[in-house]
Amino acid sequence: MKKGSAVKSRVWLSSPYIVWIIGFTVIPLGVIFKYALTGREGGFSLEYISAIFDPIHLKAMVFSLEIALGCTLFCILLSYPLVLALKHLNLGKQGFTMFILILPMWMNFILRILAWQMILSNNGILNLLLAKLGMEPLQLANTGAAIMIGVVYDYLPYMVLPIFNAVAEIDEDIIEAAKDLGANGFTVFRKIIFPLSVPGLLSGIVMVFVPSMTSFVISDILGGGKLQLIGNIIEQEFTKSANWNLGSGLSVSLMIFVLISMAFTTKNEVEGKGSAIW
């Protein structure tokens, strides 16, 4: 691209944003690192960063990882059939997909999770329905399964939308050509639709994995306060125990873990994430 003087002077338009990045992204990260690296005696120490390896914290971390991996996997498994069904019925083009997936987000998410608590509780709506059908009630309340249902419910749209957008861009002629050459539906999916949907899949993974690993409200409500994700432990360090250094140390460990695992998934290519949702 040619960069004339008009273009060069345009760089100055970003100065408010650069100031904002420094003031509210870079410095806060510096501050949380400072708290995390300050030990009990006030000097520099790695004790709160390494606190993640305490058995209690490690257990919460492993549980968070299980929830996040499970949630990501279930979201992927639910999304592909949905995207294919929408494509098959040609429902995507009228904005129908966006519509049904975005609308629920306008009901407050804590209320929606509370509604799941009512549905899943031992004498809740689901068991009432099961009893009417003559089936055994399920003991889902305050279990990992309930938390899993909650996170899959909350983050499913973030997986469906980017995959849907990637699949919608596939040239119909390629699929027609493959069919003409004798490919069956499964081969078309394996050789064309899936490979071309990978960029969408990757941004879906980024958008689902991190929040499901670090949420604390869903596990608080659906886990009944007994099952703790790492997010619950960090939150309690700030609200109940008031040990800000430990809370910061755990946050920094979590952040490092998340950034490393995301670096494996994608190389900073989350652009279009915003527009993918709209």
Partner: protein, 268 residues
């Protein structure tokens, strides 16, 4: 035959997903008409909660705070974000990449980490309250604006701007008449995205708000143990229906032809 079976399966599957997504919403809407304060028993149909809602000062105050916050933060984030995107786009490759990494940090980072980092920083210079929450919301909203606007800037036809300047338009006039119309859809999407994110946020607000200020989300969270006031279900139902109607209108209204800035140059 096979085609019809496929259609049926597709419809059933979409139906099941819709049921999964909307079941809790149905429960909440039912609760807003439930003539009983208990969450588990059905006490008959009533409009009471809708009437009581408007005389509930606390909920109304939280609603006003939430809307003010969403609108102000989305507006300021759009302003800073659009100017930022225009500037970043003109940067040298290396600087562009560095700024984009920092733009992605609030998106990639866990909300809880962002919220805590901001809170730890805010306590050094401002009292936690509406102001600190506003700063926090602007911070996490700007990346959404930039990511919505950037693709439009890439597609933007720079020659149109230069043509306008050659034909005697000053920089400001050319910006408003030629650049802005080309970016309008991206800016609008960014604004609504930011508004939605701000309305929906709980975690970052929770850590940066301090005592005394409540948005709807933090108010609901505070009521979990005591039990949610049924007026809250009524308010949520109203918001939901309102947005449903807006989205319905936006999606199925006959579209106006979009201006692309080209005809403006022709008319200069």
């Amino acid at each position: 035959m096979v085609e019809r079976l496929k259609n049926l399966c597709s419809r059933c599957y979409i139906g099941l997903i819709i049921l999964f997504l909307y079941a809790p919403i149905l429960v909440l809407v039912m609760l807003s008409f439930n003539n009983s304060r208990s969450r588990v028993t059905w006490g008959g149909f009533t409009f009471d909660w809708y009437q009581k809602l408007f005389s509930n000062g606390q909920i109304m105050e939280a609603l006003v705070t939430t809307l003010t916050l969403a609108f102000t933060s989305a507006l300021l984030a759009t302003l800073i974000g659009v100017l930022g995107a225009l500037g970043i786009h003109a940067m040298r490759q290396k600087n562009y990449q560095i700024v984009m990494i920092f733009t992605n940090i609030p998106l990639l980072n866990a909300d809880i980490v962002t919220g805590i980092a901001l809170m730890l920083w805010f306590v050094h210079f401002i009292p936690l309250g509406f102001g600190s929450v506003l700063l926090a919301h602007i911070t996490f909203n700007i990346p959404y604006v930039i990511l919505s606007v950037m693709p439009k800037i890439r597609q933007m036809n720079v020659s149109l701007y230069e043509a306008a300047r050659d034909l005697g338009a000053n920089a400001l006039y050319a910006f408003f008449r030629v650049i802005l119309p080309q970016l309008a859809s991206g800016i609008l999407a960014g604004f609504f995205m930011a508004f939605t994110m701000s309305m929906d946020d709980f975690v970052i607000t929770y850590f940066t708000k301090g005592a005394g200020v409540n948005t709807l989300s933090t108010m609901i969270y505070g009521e979990i143990r005591k039990g949610i006031k049924p007026e809250m279900y009524a308010l949520s139902t109203i918001i939901f229906v309102f947005v449903f109607l807006i989205l319905l209108a936006a999606n199925y209204w006959p579209q106006k032809r979009k201006s692309d800035g080209a005809h403006v140059v022709e008319n200069l």
